[in-house]
């Protein structure tokens, strides 16, 4: 009886210590939330039943930077936490691994978060960026691969 009590208390102690250790990990602190989007930019009049025009900060950034396309369709969006010490994934095209993003925070500044971003196509890394600062309200846009009559844009936004 005593042996089982000691064993159970030891296991509980071990479990609580593991939980305490996990809670104490400063790398798991959430320092922000990133939104990753895949946008189809085109000058043609093609449209689809699923096509959703872009809006908000992304639209303003597109206009401000005078991107040379007439129409922008949102193909997919994913939102994920930014952990202080861990990389994380964004999978805007939920139905496939065709295009994915990984990001690793490097530093938090007053302006935003400095991250290194990698773009993946079908689980193959295509490119990685140097450390870039993503500011809230100012999306970071990558002009990606050609598709049909336009280009695929990869968009990263830091949500407040």
């Amino acid at each position: 009886m005593k042996t089982s009590t000691v064993l159970i208390s030891s296991l509980l102690g071990l479990m609580f210590s593991c939980i305490a250790h996990a809670q104490a990990d400063p790398g798991k602190e959430v320092i922000g939330k990133l939104k990753g989007s895949i946008v189809y930019a085109t000058n043609s009049n093609e449209s689809s039943q699923n096509a959703t025009p872009v809006s908000g900060a992304l639209q303003r950034t597109i206009v401000a930077n005078k991107l040379p396309f007439a129409t922008y369709y949102l193909l997919g969006t994913d939102r994920q936490d930014v952990y202080k010490g861990y990389p994380n994934w964004l999978k805007p095209m939920r139905g496939s691994d065709a295009m994915m993003l990984s990001y690793e925070p490097k530093q938090t500044t007053a302006e935003g978060i400095k991250v290194e971003v990698s773009f993946w196509q079908n689980k193959q890394k295509i490119f990685s960026t140097k450390t870039l600062t993503i500011k809230p309200g100012t999306p970071l846009i990558f002009t990606g691969p050609q598709w049909r009559n336009g280009k695929v844009l990869i968009v990263l936004e830091l949500e407040q």
Binding site: A51, A64, I141, R148
Partner: protein
């Protein structure tokens, strides 16, 4: 013999010899310092008599003190000689081991230095032409930038900021085009209610870009 030595004085006292007052004072001091000296000489009287009857003084070694000193000196010399021989033997036996050990270390150090130099030479000059350079491995393009914007294993990839001031649009050129028969709209999310299940690329479509 030196009659003034404490041991000799003790022997004379034990033999029952009459001592002068000074010698008695020395004995008293000895008794005071070490109680084990306080022996009753009467106890040893039979032994002393027996020894005197068996050994006559004629058989004593003449000039015993000199003999003893000489003997002790020889013993000390022998001991010193033996110690010196032992030290020499130790040095002789230790020398080859030390020299061998130092020789091994020298070999290791020389080998490491040679490998280090060889590695430097290999990296710098010998295979410089066949060694892929950073630009070959990691294609990047930043004509207006000193630092690259994007790193990639694809040779034909280039990247640059659309506007150096804003730095929020990065133009990447050289990516393989997505085949037109892939319907990205169909893969888009959120899907309409009729297509909530994940849609994958149909297997009959040849898509070399996504094949590893």
């Amino acid at each position: 013999m030196n009659d003034k030595s404490p041991e000799e004085l003790m022997v004379r006292w034990m033999d029952g010899e009459k001592l002068n007052p000074e010698e008695l004072d020395v004995l008293k001091k000895m008794h005071a310092e070490d109680p084990s000296w306080a022996i009753d000489p009467k106890e040893f009287a039979p032994v002393a008599e027996a020894l005197h009857t068996r050994y006559s003084s004629d058989l004593e070694v003449p000039q015993g003190k000199l003999f003893q000193d000489t003997l002790m000196k020889r013993v000390a010399q022998e001991r010193e000689h033996e110690q010196e021989i032992a030290r020499l033997q130790e040095k002789v036996t230790a020398f080859p081991q030390r020299s061998a050990a130092s020789f091994n270390w020298a070999k290791v150090a020389v080998g490491m230095a040679a490998c280090f130099l060889f590695g430097i030479l290999v990296n710098t000059s010998f295979f410089k032409r066949s060694q892929p350079t950073q630009s070959q491995n990691y294609a990047y393009s930043a004509p207006s930038q000193l630092q690259p914007v994007v790193y990639s294993v694809h040779d034909n990839l280039s990247a640059d900021f659309l506007s150096v001031d804003e730095q929020n649009v990065i133009v990447i050129e050289g990516l393989d085009a997505i085949p037109d028969n892939i319907d990205l709209f169909a893969l888009s999310y959120p899907a309409p209610p009729s297509r909530r299940q994940p849609i994958k690329v149909t297997p009959h479509i040849h898509y070399p870009l996504y094949e590893n």
